[in-house]
């Protein structure tokens, strides 16, 4: 039985143009809404896979605004069994703050549920996170969390399987596909691409609505991230030569390809 904790972050949906809030402290998500990073979605998928393969449970946790319940529910909808919200103003948090708060929740749960929530008494054999957050891209919450918990950590992982108290994990290194054998309990950070995140079913969504979310408050005042302000990079000037419009351009395109020595 492997109990998994997966940590996720509510981020603006960056699949279109990025706009900044007026105070330049965060992205403006008014027109795009919020979502999970791809890495975090894959971490949720792996958490659910590992839990169900070993008859364990997957618990999802986030540190953030009350609205983050939306992202917790989406993880519950695909098979997580419990959810924890550590409520905080996300702009005030740095990666060290987030790691400290996650560690505090883990310790509480493992000590028998000082938080009193549904996860009481659970030991988390495996803690999964994304490798880097889509918005802040700090690349460090997982590593700081592992340090707090004094557990080993592997980063940039694409697949995880667990057997006999050991996680076998794979990632892509410069030389090829790397394998690590990780003694549990451990922390693993996930990169997108190894698994296909599932979509919630209607019954999954209905069930998710009924699961209570354990809400916690910060253990300690946050120290912050050192962020002064956000800016947008200047747009690159146009350099393209327009070959034409529509299917009529095909001749010119093939002329060009032949000139470049391809498509002969």
């Amino acid at each position: 039985m492997t109990n998994v904790l997966v940590c996720i972050k509510r981020v603006p949906d960056f699949s279109g143009e990025v706009l900044l809030a007026e105070d330049a402290q965060s992205a403006d998500a008014r027109f795009v809404g919020f979502t999970l990073s791809n890495h975090d979605s894959c971490a949720v998928e792996l958490a659910v896979q590992v839990a169900s393969a070993t008859d364990g449970t997957a618990t999802v946790l986030t540190v953030g605004s009350a609205e983050s319940v939306e992202q917790l529910r989406s993880a519950l909808g695909v098979g997580c069994a419990a959810a924890v919200l550590v409520e905080a103003d996300p702009v005030a948090l740095g990666p060290a703050d987030v790691a400290r708060e996650i560690a505090a929740a883990v310790r509480d749960h493992e000590a028998g549920g000082a938080g009193g929530g549904p996860g009481g008494g659970t030991t988390y054999d495996l803690v999964l996170l994304g490798n880097d957050a889509a918005d802040s891209g700090d690349f460090q919450v997982g590593i700081r969390l592992a340090h707090e918990l004094e557990r080993p950590v592997v980063t940039g992982i694409k697949t995880v399987t667990v057997a006999d108290g050991t996680a076998t994990v794979h990632g892509d290194g410069a030389e090829g596909r790397e394998t690590y054998a990780v003694p549990l309990p451990a922390v693993v950070t996930v990169l997108e691409g190894g698994v296909e995140p599932r979509y919630p079913t209607i019954t999954g969504r209905m069930k998710a609505k009924k699961i209570p979310v354990e809400t916690r408050t910060l253990m300690q005042a946050p120290t912050g991230s050192g962020r002064m302000r956000l800016t947008l990079p200047p747009a690159a000037p146009s350099t393209a030569e327009v070959l034409g419009e529509g299917p009529e351009a095909a001749g010119t395109v093939v002329d060009l390809l032949q000139k470049l020595g391809v498509g002969r």
Binding site: V18, I143, R227, M228, P233, T239, V262
Partner: protein, 325 residues
């Protein structure tokens, strides 16, 4: 004192590490000529020290030995911390690769200081202010790094790698590292070469035909696949395409996919978001096909065709077939 954690790739110092040392020289100059040291962990190519010297490095601290033969993030961080102590560095930096970011995050955690990922430039020295990429480069953050040492990584392509006008001494200094069992608890146990598998052919393709959300759905890839086949190339796609499950992830081009450098890249229905651009910017010629002439891909490309990919691509395929007779 500035310390750079150097990664090797094959039998040379990695390109990103050379960029990072180049960046370090800028910082060194701003600080009145602070010396730059490098730290190498594990087996290192024989020419590495000379190459680093030509980039202005004073001392190369090299931690080697059986325990460091296979990569362990914790052991590597322990070695960097030991080198930092030996050199008395106030700045510790690495290239903004996944590995560089991992090692610097571990170093910062051990030293209980902040870390800034993917820095592109620095402003003032006191307080030390850096500008770094967030949202995969679609936005920039100005960040204060007030603790010492200042720990950060340098984003790929932030500077051109250039040898120093005056080489450094390049003294090779063996580095003793005391590793704990915890440092070695998790190591790479095996590496499987994947050159020819999945993404391998895309990364080395001479011609890549790209397709993005403009393909319209999982059935919208017939024409681009045919064009790729006619040109003897590979298909590359945007993240929207893989996220929606239209095509497998190993076909993804970009920051979180493959980096390609073909002679010709033909992106169809791809807007050219900065994170996609990160993966295709080193294509020699880019021929973009898009309904929107203002899409970033269309303005940054070498050539552009304005139009619906479902009309333009079949016409190109037809024309190629016609000319071949």
């Amino acid at each position: 004192m500035i310390l750079v954690y150097v990664e090797v790739s094959g039998d040379a110092v990695s390109e990103v590490s050379l960029e990072t040392v180049t960046f370090a020289r800028g910082l060194s100059a701003a600080g009145g000529g602070v010396p730059i040291d490098a730290v190498l962990v594990g087996p290192a190519p024989s020419g590495a020290t000379a190459e680093l010297a030509s980039y202005g490095v004073r001392t190369v601290h090299h931690a080697d030995g059986e325990d460091l033969e296979r990569f362990s993030g914790a052991a590597t961080a322990a070695a960097v911390v030991a080198a930092r102590q030996a050199a008395g560095s106030v700045v510790v930096m690495a290239g903004g690769t996944n590995r560089g970011n991992e090692v610097m995050a571990r170093v910062a955690t051990r030293l209980d200081v902040a870390m800034a990922a993917n820095v592109v430039s620095f402003g003032g020295l006191s307080p030390f202010v850096v500008t770094r990429q967030v949202v995969g480069g679609a936005a920039l953050e100005e960040m204060r790094l007030s603790q010492r040492p200042a720990v950060f990584t340098v984003a790929g392509h932030a500077v051109e790698p250039t040898p120093a006008p005056e080489p450094g001494a390049g003294t090779l200094q063996p580095l003793d590292v005391e590793l704990t069992p915890g440092d070695l608890a998790v190591r790479v146990v095996s590496v499987e070469r994947t050159d020819d598998a999945d993404a391998g052919s895309l990364k080395s393709a001479r011609i890549v035909v790209g397709a993005g959300r403009g393909a319209g759905g999982p059935d919208g890839f017939g024409d681009v696949l045919e064009l790729a086949e006619l040109l003897g190339g590979s298909l590359g796609v945007s993240r929207v395409v893989t996220s929606l499950g239209w095509r497998p992830h190993h076909e993804q081009v970009g920051q979180t996919g493959s980096r390609i450098s073909p002679e010709v890249y033909i992106p169809c229905g791809i807007s050219g978001a900065i994170q996609h651009w990160a993966g295709c910017a080193s294509s020699k010629v880019i021929l973009a096909i898009n309904t929107d002439p203002e899409a970033p891909m269309m303005t940054k490309a070498t050539y552009a065709v304005v139009g619906d990919m479902h009309e333009v691509v079949p016409a190109i395929n037809e024309e190629i077939r016609r000319r071949r007779g």
